[in-house]
Every structure is written in structure tokens, then in C-alpha cells.
């Protein structure tokens, strides 16, 4: 293998990789077009392959050359319509392109890779149409010193003729050699010194006990043999005694050694060594020209290309062939879209590190713009200096503004140079999707939008892997197989839609598929099973939160490990990667309809907008990406809105509880506040956030600390500052609501300043251990401010994402909020009995669902039963009681098992069953009949709510004991006060209680209940209340009752639709004795009985 300098190689690599990335998508299009061949496109690919092959030839990259050669052959046939591009053919081509990419990743070792499989696959495609002219070369090839003369099979640099050869000889004209002009030019461009060396084999080699081989090896170590007067072969092929067969060897030797040092290498007489300079004259080692002037036959042509001499390259010299030196990639017009990051391209076993990311293509227009701006900046500076010199304030002001403007523009323009289009990442996805879909037997169509959206280079580089993972996931887990899709009424071809767009200074990326979506319940179950969350937490989570569970570390939903998912990369890694970039990810999914993943990314990382806050007298910057909102709690609301949960402070924010962290507490500085009267900064002594009492000021006399009724008066109206200050607005709390990943908390700071764009600077090594800071920045006044690392601060404060109690409280609160907004949301099981009638029953009542075969049902004693666990499960169907469609006559039935009257009964039904949460707007009259408690609309269908107890009661009245009428001492039946705002539930529950023989007093809300309680103080012996009610809710009512000594003995049962841990805890706190689920009348009645017995 013959490799010359890395500069040329790098250029070749960059170009080739660019070609390759285009090739891939073009192949896909060619495949799509099939027999309908688009000649232009095929030509384009052909040319790309050709260029790669050409370069590889010059570089001595035989493997790459061979592979591209075969590809070219096939493309030629396709162009000539001799081969129809079938998916199989394209597959082979694509795989070959992949191999090419691999080879290029480790280009210095590419010749050692075995590519015979690919070559023969390509040849098979060619169908022996043309005899392959290049045998696959596997392994073994090592460095060649020289092979003579360029083969020049490729017109790489078309502007040079093939035969620009020149002869260089010693002044005596005896010893000389011929070589290609381009070779010499390339050497000069690298700034190397070129020497013409003559060695007499007898006197210079053998007399010194050396061999020719050793001499060549030595030369190879310090430079490059550019030309010789004999044919050179690979050095390893030479045996020790090898000799060129001529008495005098002449070399043209390129090296970094200067004329003064060159003879250290050769140790020969000076007249045998001459320097060839770029003016194509020969000089002796002392630097004087030799006698002969025109030794070089064609000097004019050569010198035309050598315009500048570069400083010495200190790269190790590679031995090379003369043809290998030729490739000088003509510089193309700059085009930022073309700019490729090839950072991952080379890991080099051969000691030379090829760093690809060192260059970036920038559009000339942008460079021009930068130049213009730089010019303007200089002019403005002059203007500023001048006006400052002449004390012209007006002038300085103008110049200052101008500089401000130019700086912003300059910043923007410089940032633009780092921008690359996201198409660089997107373009690889068609292939990814095609291959993966093929492997998995799925049909997937990928649409891309917004390829032109530009992002900072670093972000583009970092986002590739996470995005690929998401796209693969969409194909692997999202899109169903064609037959499954057909069954669920979808088109057999799935769609994945990738979209990038700008919004609010951020880049948004959306990956959506129309696949099966995520199943929140499954996810939650899995997370519980893996111990990632507790069951209680799962209960409280919203559907969206459940979907986001897949981002938890250690979570993978793939039931079987597929090629794709078995790679050990989970969604948590995706999330971590994006977090590191300051990005956000969110997942949205509708089961059965598809999944959409939203990603938000900042445009750049170097300059970031930040919120400046002040704490303990120092300024701190909080990155805007982490900032949710700024909150100022006026002093008079502090005690009302800040609550203490455990030992954490929380603030009530639009119904949610937000954990609070005091910045001063975490970083351990004294909080300060600004004295409103004097403007002085003083230490704030409040111990707890909500604690106003202990906030004594040393300036205040003891008398001032006595509670003063005047405190309640607005401070402005108070003449004496000392009295009013405690409630002055400046005692208000400033909270920065920040979020990091799935965590959100409030950071309490002393003061809020403006938002600024800051430049991130790293901190010194002594501060690396301070995890709370992400870096530092220099503010406008020249002082330094620290940048806060919001997620580390949370860790330092002991907040963590899911398991943290504060978070649990928030989840609970969120759920609570949903309850509040969606009044009486119920978990329902939806099922059918007849084909076209939808029924629902409260999910809380369902024990389980059994599959029942109609043939297994026995008719015994006029009743239907089925053998079940050594017993008989009685079966009913709705149509036995209510006037509804008869039970479907299909063989596969479902038995929904309920617990009624202490026994299990099965309600016969058919699918599809679905468990869902619905906002029940129940009509308790229109469709009311025996066994049906009412109707509601679920999924756009009128759905009948089954009253299971009524059904069983109607059919088997004997199962139920005659109600045991409870009476109080005076002989009246027990009276229950029942507060509930929904008339449907009021009637339902009231009915069931009355059936038990209780007397029920109804109330529509807490206040009415309270009033009724006072009126009927004597008769009421138990209170049943709903939690969510207008005017006064269940909690408040309970508190009121329990606080009143005359009622505090009354047992209170709360009814809720879904009892959350947090609710229950809170309820117990205020004195609720028991919780029951609405519509579970049996348990409610049982509970009532128990309490009454105890009383």
C-alpha cells in the first residue's frame, strides 16, 4: 500500500465520504424507479463511484479501488439497461457502499480487510457478463516503495495531461531520472526539500558494508522516494542481497531534512547530492546554483503550479509511489451544506492520526459577510477611540451603540459558520428504515421534512445516534407487520414522519409513526415489575407520564430481543444524550394509533441565554433552557402558599405542588435582602421560607417584634418603616421555576435580574469538585458570575426525579388536578353483550375477566353456571334482566367476574373490552331500566352503565339478606348525612343506602351539608361525603365537623372516584375515617355497618 501525506488523504476521504452519503440515497431512488431508469441519476452515481475509484487508484487503496470498480461495472450495465435494478441488486450495491464506508473509516488499514465476499457478490450480479479484471485482494499487502509511472487510468485532475513528464539529471548529464510533473509539484506544496541523490553501489553501499535494501529502508524512514532510475518494488519483496542491477542508483528524494543536515543520512560526497528547488533549478548543498541552468526539461509548466512554499510539515514521511503523489483535489466552491463532519472516520493503527474535524466548509458569502463586519468593527472602534479622546460623550454613545450592533451581527455570523443542516443526519435514515423494514418484514415509508434546518456542528454530531435509535425504534417497535396493520384497519404500509423546524429559538424535531403506539398500562406494569416505580406511584400517573416511563434507566419494553433492540442501548441513553445537549424529549402516544416523539434542541451551546439571579450578594446565571418561569410570591401570601411537606418546602402553583430549594441553603451562603428604606443589603435571617416570625432584624428594637395589628395594612400607607417593613414587598419570595429532564422545582433566590446572553467559560481545576456550577461567565461590568447546574443542584438538595417524595406529591397533585378539572372521572370497563350495544361497568368492581367457551356452560337448575376452580361460577347476562340486545351467539365469550353479595358471579359478555378513564356525564334517567343505572357517551357511542348488583338482585333476590334496619335509641332508622354534588351519584348511592334501611339526608355541597348537620344534629349518626364539591369540599367539611366538639364523634366516610395515596393521607389528617370508591355499594354499605356497630 502506498500512502502519501495525510493532507491529501484527508481531502480524498472527505470527498469520498460525501460521494458515498449521496450514493446511498440515490441507490434507494434507483431501486424505487425499478425498470424505469433515470439515466441522469445513474450517471450521477456512476460518476461518484468513478471518482472514488480514481482517487483510490492514486492512493494505492487497492481494496477501495477494486470494490468501486465492480460497482461501476454494475452501474454501467444499469445505465445501459442491461441490468434492472431489483431490490436484490441494490442490496448488493448498498452493502458494497457500506463496506466502502467501513474501509474509509480505517483507511490506512483498508487494504488488509477481506472484501472478497463483496466483490464476488458484485460479480455475481454482473452474471459473468464481463470477466472480472481485478481479483479480490485479501490481506497481506504491505508498503511498496515504488511502482513506476502513473497508470493514470482515472482522469482525476483532468486539467493535467498524462504525460507531463520531466527528466532531472546531474549536471554531467550522466545520471538522471524521469518522473511526473505532478509528483514533484505535490512534494513542493508540502514544503519538503527535494534532493537529487546519486549513489554508486560499489563505493557508497557495498564498501560501507550496507545493502541496497538497507539504504532504501533508511531513506524511507526519513522521507519519500519520489523517483528513481530503476524499477522499485515493495520493500518487503526485496531480499537482502537485492540490487537494482545498475552500477549507479539515482533517486529523487523528498524529505523535511534541510540541506545542512541531509548528508547525515547518506554520508556521501557532496557532489553526489543536489537540491532541487521550486524554481526547478539544481543547487548544491551550500545553496549556490549548479553550472547547468536548464536541467529540467519543462520548467515553466512546473513552476506555474508552485506558488508558495509552505513551512515544513513535520508529519512522518510516508514512502510512496510516484503516482500516489498526484492526487491534488481541486478545491470546489465552498458550500456549507456539503460540509461534512468526518470526525469518526479514522482510528489509526498506524500511528498517524488523521483528524478530520479540523476543517469545515464555509460558504464564501458568509466569509465575505464576516469580513465586512470585521471592517465595520474596526471603523467603529476608531470612532469610539476618537470620541473618547475628544471627550465627546455623544460620539462615544453612538459608537458604543454601533459596536453593540456589530458585535451581535458578528456573533450571529460566526455562529453561522458552525451551522450545518440537519439533512446531514436525516439523509441516512431512508437507508436505515429501508434495511430495517426489510429485515423485519415490514412495509415502511419514511417522509423527511425540514432538512434545511441548521444546527450547531457539535449538536449535529451528537444528535446522530439518539435520532437513529429513535427511528429504528419506530420501525422495530412502532410500525406493525402488514397483516397486523390490515387487521386493525390500517394501510399495510406504515409511515414514519421525520420533521425538523425552528420554533422559539430552538430546533424542534418530531419523529412520528402511525404504528401501534405505546400502552401506558403495560409500561407501568413493566416499570413496577422492574422495581422502577411503586404501584402507588403508577396509580397516580397520568397517561403521558406513563409513556415517559420508557426513558427510565433499565427499562426496555421489547418482549423479544430483536436485532435492533438487543443492542444494549435504551431510551434512557437517548434521553441522557439529549439532556447533555440541553435538549428536551417528550413522548406522546395513542395506543393503536401511533407515537410521536418531540425533541427540542438549542441552536448552539457556546453562547447561551441565561437568567441572572442574585443570592448572597453574588450574581448567578441560570440557563434559559432550564427556566420554566419566574415566580414572585408577595410577602402577604408567603405563609399561605408555601407549605411544609415533611422537611421540604413546597409552593402551591396553579394547583400543583412545586418543591422548593433555597439556593442559599445548598451552596451555603447567607441569604440577603435589600432594605427597602435604605437600599442597603442586609442578611436575611429567616430560618424557614414561610417563617416570618423569626426574621428578626438586629436593627429592630424588641418592641417591633411584638405582633402589630398594623402589619396587615399595606406598607405604602405606613409612615414608620420599621413597622411596615416586615411585610414590605421586598420580603417577597423570588422563585425561579426550573426544570431538568422530568424534574421541576423552584429555586428560591434573593433577587431576580435580567436575562442575558452569556459566554460559557470553564472553571479551574480547584473548582471541579463544586458540582453545583456548570461554568462561569463574565458579566458586562467585568466581574465573574457562576453558572448554576440546575440538575446537580437538585441532586445536592436531595431531590430526585421519580422516587422523590416531592415528585410523588406532585404526581399526586397533578392527578388531583385532573380530578378537579374532569369532575368525577371514572375508571370503566367497556364491553359488549350484543354486537352493537356498548356497556360499561366501574372497573373497581371487576375482580377479573375469564375466557369462557359457550360449549362449557352448563344449564343446571334453570341457571347457567360454569365449572371453575372446583366450584361453580354462576353466569348471568344483561339481557336476562334488561331489555337489551340478546347475548351474541359466538362461542368465545367473556365472563366478567364481579363480587356481589359475598359471592363471585360472572357476567357474560363479548369483546372488545377496554379499560379507560372517562369523564362521566351520566344521564340517570333517559335509558334507566332494571340493571342499567344510566347512560353516558364513551368513544362517541352511547354506553349503558350496568348496575351489576341490581341485576343479581333481580335474578337471585334470595342471595341478599333482608336489610337489617338499624334504628337508634328512639326507634327511628339510622340517619346518614350524604353530601355529593353530582345528582347521578347522589341518587345512586342514596338509593343503595336507603335500600339498606337507612334514612338519608342529601346535600349538594359541603356548606349545605354543614347547615343540614346543624339542623339535624341529633338524628345524624354518620356522614358520607364526596371529596370534590363546589363551595366547600369534603376535606373542609370533615375538618369542620371534626373541629366541632358536638360532632367530632361522627364517623365520616369519604367517597371518591379513585383514591390516591396523597388524598387518603390528607383525608386522614383532617379526620376522614374511611375511603370508599363510588359505585362500590357493597363495600360502602359494609363500611357503614361497621362504623355504626363500633359507635
Amino acid at each position: 500500500m502506498t500512502i502519501q501525506d495525510d493532507e491529501t488523504l484527508r481531502m480524498y476521504l472527505e470527498e469520498s465520504l460525501e460521494h458515498l452519503s449521496d450514493i446511498e440515497n440515490d441507490f434507494l431512488t434507483i431501486e424505487e424507479n425499478g425498470a424505469n431508469i433515470n439515466e441522469d441519476l445513474v450517471n450521477k452515481v456512476y460518476r461518484a463511484a468513478h471518482s472514488i475509484k480514481g482517487g483510490a487508484g492514486f492512493m494505492g487503496l487497492t481494496n477501495i479501488k477494486d470494490l468501486t470498480h465492480e460497482m461501476e461495472n454494475i452501474l454501467g450495465k444499469i445505465r445501459g439497461r442491461e441490468i434492472i435494478p431489483t431490490p436484490a441488486t441494490v442490496n448488493v450495491l448498498l452493502r458494497a457502499a457500506d463496506t466502502l464506508k467501513l474501509l474509509m473509516k480505517d483507511i490506512l488499514n483498508s487494504n488488509e480487510v477481506d472484501i472478497s465476499a463483496h466483490v464476488s457478490a458484485l460479480q455475481t450480479v454482473l452474471k459473468a457478463d464481463s470477466t472480472p479484471n481485478k481479483a479480490p485482494k485479501a490481506g497481506g499487502a504491505s508498503k511498496t516503495i515504488m511502482t513506476k509511472a502513473p497508470k493514470a487510468s482515472q482522469p482525476v485532475a483532468a486539467e493535467f495531461g498524462e504525460d507531463d513528464r520531466l527528466t532531472i539529471a546531474f549536471p554531467d548529464g550522466q545520471a538522471g531520472l524521469t518522473l511526473d510533473t505532478k509528483v514533484l509539484r505535490a512534494v513542493f506544496e508540502q514544503g519538503k526539500c527535494v534532493y537529487l541523490v546519486k549513489m554508486d553501489i560499489e563505493t557508497h553501499v557495498h564498501a560501507k558494508d550496507k545493502t541496497c535494501r538497507a539504504v532504501l529502508e533508511e531513506m524511507e524512514q526519513t522521507g519519500v522516494i519520489v523517483g528513481a532510475n530503476f524499477v522499485l518494488q515493495s520493500i518487503s519483496d526485496l531480499d537482502v542481497a537485492w540490487a537494482p542491477g545498475i552500477p549507479v542508483m539515482v533517486f529523487l528524494f523528498a524529505t523535511i531534512l534541510k540541506p545542512a543536515d541531509i548528508n547525515v543520512l547518506f554520508e556521501i560526497e557532496d557532489e553526489y547530492l543536489l537540491e532541487v528547488r521550486s524554481d526547478l533549478q539544481l543547487y548544491n548543498l551550500q545553496g549556490s546554483p549548479t553550472a547547468t541552468d536548464e536541467i529540467l526539461r519543462d520548467p515553466a509548466q512546473l513552476s506555474g503550479y508552485i506558488e508558495k512554499e509552505m513551512p515544513d510539515l513535520d508529519s512522518p514521511a510516508w514512502s510512496a509511489t510516484d503516482d500516489a503523489m498526484e492526487e491534488q483535489t481541486p478545491k470546489r466552491a465552498f458550500n456549507p451544506v456539503d460540509a461534512k463532519s468526518t470526525q469518526d472516520a479514522v482510528t489509526d493503527k498506524k500511528s498517524v492520526k488523521l483528524e478530520h474535524e479540523t476543517s469545515l466548509r464555509v460558504h464564501v458569502r458568509l466569509l465575505d459577510q464576516l469580513m465586512t463586519l470585521a471592517g465595520e468593527l474596526v471603523l467603529s472602534r476608531n470612532q469610539l477611540l476618537q470620541s473618547m479622546g475628544s471627550s465627546d460623550t455623544r460620539g462615544s454613545e453612538v459608537a458604543g451603540q454601533r459596536i453593540d450592533l456589530i458585535t451581535s451581527e458578528l456573533q450571529e455570523a460566526i455562529m453561522l459558520t458552525r451551522m450545518q443542516s440537519i439533512g446531514n443526519v436525516f439523509n441516512k435514515f431512508p437507508r436505515v428504515v429501508r434495511d430495517l423494514a426489510g429485515t423485519l418484514g415490514k412495509q415502511v415509508e419514511l417522509s423527511l421534512e425540514g432538512k434545511d434546518v441548521e444546527l450547531d456542528k457539535t449538536i449535529i454530531e451528537a444528535i446522530g445516534d439518539p435520532l437513529t435509535h429513535l427511528v429504528r425504534n419506530a420501525v422495530d417497535h412502532g410500525i406493525e407487520k402488514p397483516d397486523v396493520r390490515k387487521k386493525s384497519g390500517k394501510a399495510p404500509t406504515g409511515h414514519i414522519f421525520l420533521k425538523a423546524y425552528h420554533e422559539a429559538g430552538q430546533v424542534n424535531i418530531e419523529i412520528s409513526d402511525d404504528g401501534k403506539g405505546l400502552d401506558g398500562h403495560k409500561l407501568a406494569a413493566k416499570a413496577i415489575e422492574k422495581g422502577l416505580i411503586s404501584e402507588d406511584q403508577a396509580k397516580l400517573m397520568s397517561a403521558r407520564e406513563k409513556n415517559n416511563l420508557i426513558f427510565l434507566p433499565g427499562f426496555s419494553t421489547a418482549e423479544t430481543v430483536t436485532d435492533v433492540s438487543g443492542r444494549g442501548v435504551g431510551m434512557d441513553v437517548v434521553k441522557t444524550n439529549l439532556d447533555q445537549l440541553g435538549g428536551l424529549i417528550d413522548i406522546e402516544s395513542v395506543t393503536g394509533k401511533g407515537t410521536t416523539i418531540h425533541i427540542k434542541l438549542p441552536l448552539t451551546l457556546a453562547i447561551i441565554p441565561c437568567q441572572i439571579v442574585v443570592t448572597g450578594g453574588e450574581r448567578y446565571a441560570i440557563p434559559q433552557v432550564n427556566l420554566e418561569e419566574l415566580l414572585r410570591i408577595p410577602a402577604e401570601q408567603v405563609s399561605k402558599r408555601i407549605e411544609r411537606v415533611g422537611n421540604a418546602n413546597v409552593v402551591r402553583l396553579r394547583g400543583n405542588l412545586l418543591p422548593l430549594i433555597r439556593l442559599t441553603d445548598i451552596i451555603g451562603v447567607a441569604p440577603r435582602y435589600k432594605d427597602p428604606g435604605t437600599g442597603e443589603e442586609k442578611d436575611d435571617r429567616r430560618k424557614a421560607i414561610a417563617d416570618r416570625r423569626s426574621r428578626k432584624s438586629p436593627l429592630l428594637s424588641k418592641d417591633d417584634m411584638v405582633e402589630n395589628p398594623a402589619d396587615e395594612i399595606a406598607p405604602e400607607t405606613l409612615p414608620e418603616r420599621s413597622e411596615g417593613r416586615r411585610y414590605h414587598a421586598n420580603s417577597a419570595l423570588n422563585i425561579v421555576v426550573v426544570s431538568t429532564g422530568d424534574m421541576k422545582y423552584g429555586l428560591v433566590v434573593d433577587n431576580l435580574h435580567d436575562s442575558e446572553e452569556i459566554v460559557v467559560k470553564p472553571l479551574g481545576r480547584d473548582l471541579k469538585k463544586c458540582k453545583g456550577y456548570a461554568g462561569a461567565t463574565i458579566m458586562g461590568d467585568g466581574r465573574v458570575a457562576l453558572i448554576l447546574d440546575v440538575s446537580n443542584l437538585a441532586k445536592m438538595a436531595g431531590l430526585s426525579s421519580i422516587e422523590g417524595s416531592a415528585r410523588a406529591a406532585e404526581v399526586a397533585q397533578a392527578e388531583h388536578e385532573i380530578h378537579r378539572t374532569n369532575r368525577d372521572k371514572q375508571s370503566l370497563l367497556v364491553f359488549r353483550s350484543g354486537e352493537n350495544e356498548q356497556f360499561a361497568a366501574p372497573l373497581g368492581l371487576v375482580e377479573r375477566i375469564e375466557k369462557i367457551k359457550r360449549s362449557d356452560i352448563e344449564h343446571v337448575g334453570g341457571k347457567r353456571v360454569i365449572k371453575y376452580r372446583n366450584g361453580s361460577l354462576p353466569l348471568f347476562s344483561i339481557d336476562e334482566v334488561a331489555t337489551v340486545q340478546p347475548l351474541s351467539d359466538q362461542n368465545n365469550l367473556l365472563g366478567i367476574v364481579f363480587m356481589v353479595g359475598g359471592r363471585e358471579i360472572g357476567l357474560l359478555a363479548i369483546g372488545p373490552v377496554d379499560a379507560l378513564e372517562a369523564n362521566l356525564n351520566i344521564d340517570g334517567s333517559t335509558l334507566r331500566q332494571t340493571g342499567i343505572m344510566g347512560s353516558t357517551i364513551i368513544n362517541d357511542r352511547t354506553t349503558l352503565l350496568v348496575d351489576i348488583v341490581e341485576i343479581v338482585e333481580t335474578l337471585n333476590p334470595q342471595w341478599f339478606k333482608a336489610p337489617e334496619i338499624r334504628k337508634d335509641e328512639s326507634g327511628n332508622s339510622t340517619t346518614i348525612l350524604f353530601a355529593e354534588d353530582s345528582s347521578f351519584f347522589r341518587n345512586q348511592v342514596k338509593g343503595s343506602m336507603e335500600k339498606e334501611g337507612f334514612k338519608v339526608i342529601e346535600a349538594e355541597d359541603g356548606i349545605i351539608a354543614w347547615n343540614l348537620l346543624q339542623k339535624n344534629a341529633k338524628s345524624i349518626s354518620l356522614v358520607v361525603t364526596d371529596i370534590e364539591m363546589p363551595n366547600m369540599d369534603g376535606f373542609a367539611l370533615t375538618r369542620k365537623i371534626k373541629e366541632d366538639p358536638s360532632f367530632s364523634h361522627l364517623p365520616i366516610i369519604a367517597l371518591t372516584t379513585l383514591a390516591g395515596e396523597e388524598d387518603i393521607a390528607r383525608g386522614r389528617q383532617v379526620g376522614i375515617d374511611d375511603y370508599q370508591i363510588k359505585l362500590d355499594r357493597e363495600r360502602l354499605i359494609k363500611s357503614i355497618h361497621e362504623f355504626l356497630k363500633a359507635a
Binding site: G616, E618, R619, I667, G668, V669, K761, P762, L763, G764, R765, D766, L767, K769, C770, G772, Y773, A776, I778, G782, R783, V784, A785, L786
Partner: protein, 161 residues
């Protein structure tokens, strides 16, 4: 140098002693102790005291400073050496040194003269110089009336201290 153990460090110090003729020392006071440092190590000496405190930083870190666009950590040399803190007043200065490709400021009580020291008259450091670990010093230079401890800045600033 920074991560060598004591023995090789001492050896290195001795080598320094033997190999070099003279060295110009920038001298300064840390409290009452007179120290010196190879003047080539010193980037600049300034009296910028507009530091930003870094809560939670190690105790010897005074704060961070903007030195023409670079963030420089200022270290209280007194604390770092195990002496009393350097008091910030009219005479205190920051000596900015470049250690491990990073600028670090050493806060000292007072700046002294530049002294030319002959390595011949430099003695290896004792185990303890006025309460400071001898390992922090390259040697002790004897002047007519007093001693200058020649500080090894890299060693003082090494992370494992």
C-alpha cells in the same frame, strides 16, 4: 512534576540545584514568611481584588477573577500552605502563574524584590519550614540577613494536595 512522589521530587530539586547557575526569584510574603518563586513562572502580578466568591469551593479558594476574558481561580496561598489566611489589604497582590496550562492566581500578603539566587547557595529544603511542608519548596536560599523559601508552584497547586 506535580504528581511525583516526595522522593523523586527531592531528587529533581537536587538536580535543579546542580544544573542551573543562577535563578531570578520573585519574592513575596505570605504573612510573615518570605518566599520566592522562579520569576519565569510568574505571568503577572496584579492587585485586582474584584473577586467572585464561589460558595462550596475548597477553603483555600478566595474566588474567581476575570483576567482579560479568562477565568482565573484565586488561591489564598497562606491557607494553601497551611498558614493563616492572607489578609486582603493595600499591599496584598495576586501572582498569576501558569500551572498545567491553566492560569491560577496566588494571593500573597506583599510583594518583595527580585533576587538573583545562586543555586550554589541554595540548600535543599528541610522537612518543615515555618510550619509549611518542606515538599512545597525547591530549596532554601540564604541571604545575608534572612532565608527565602523557593516555592515550587506546580507542587503547591497540584490537585492532590
Amino acid at each position: 512534576m506535580a504528581k511525583q512522589n516526595g522522593a523523586t521530587h527531592l531528587l529533581k530539586s537536587r538536580l535543579d540545584l546542580q544544573n542551573t547557575g543562577t535563578v531570578e526569584l520573585a519574592t513575596f510574603y505570605v504573612g510573615d514568611a518570605l518566599c520566592g518563586m522562579d520569576i519565569l513562572k510568574v505571568q503577572e502580578i496584579n492587585k485586582l481584588m474584584e473577586m467572585t466568591k464561589v460558595p462550596q469551593a475548597p477553603a483555600y479558594v478566595m474566588g474567581i477573577l476575570n483576567l482579560r476574558g479568562q477565568i482565573v481561580t484565586i488561591i489564598d496561598l497562606g491557607k494553601k500552605l497551611g498558614l493563616t489566611s492572607v489578609e486582603i489589604n493595600e499591599s496584598s497582590r495576586n501572582i498569576i502563574v501558569n500551572s498545567d496550562n491553566e492560569y491560577i492566581g496566588l494571593l500573597v500578603s506583599k510583594i518583595g524584590d527580585v533576587v538573583e539566587a545562586d543555586w550554589q547557595r541554595v540548600e535543599p529544603p528541610p522537612a518543615n519550614i515555618g510550619g509549611v511542608q518542606g515538599a512545597f519548596f525547591k530549596g532554601v536560599f540564604k541571604m545575608q540577613d534572612r532565608l527565602i523559601g523557593i516555592l515550587d508552584a506546580d507542587r503547591v497547586l497540584a490537585e492532590d494536595n
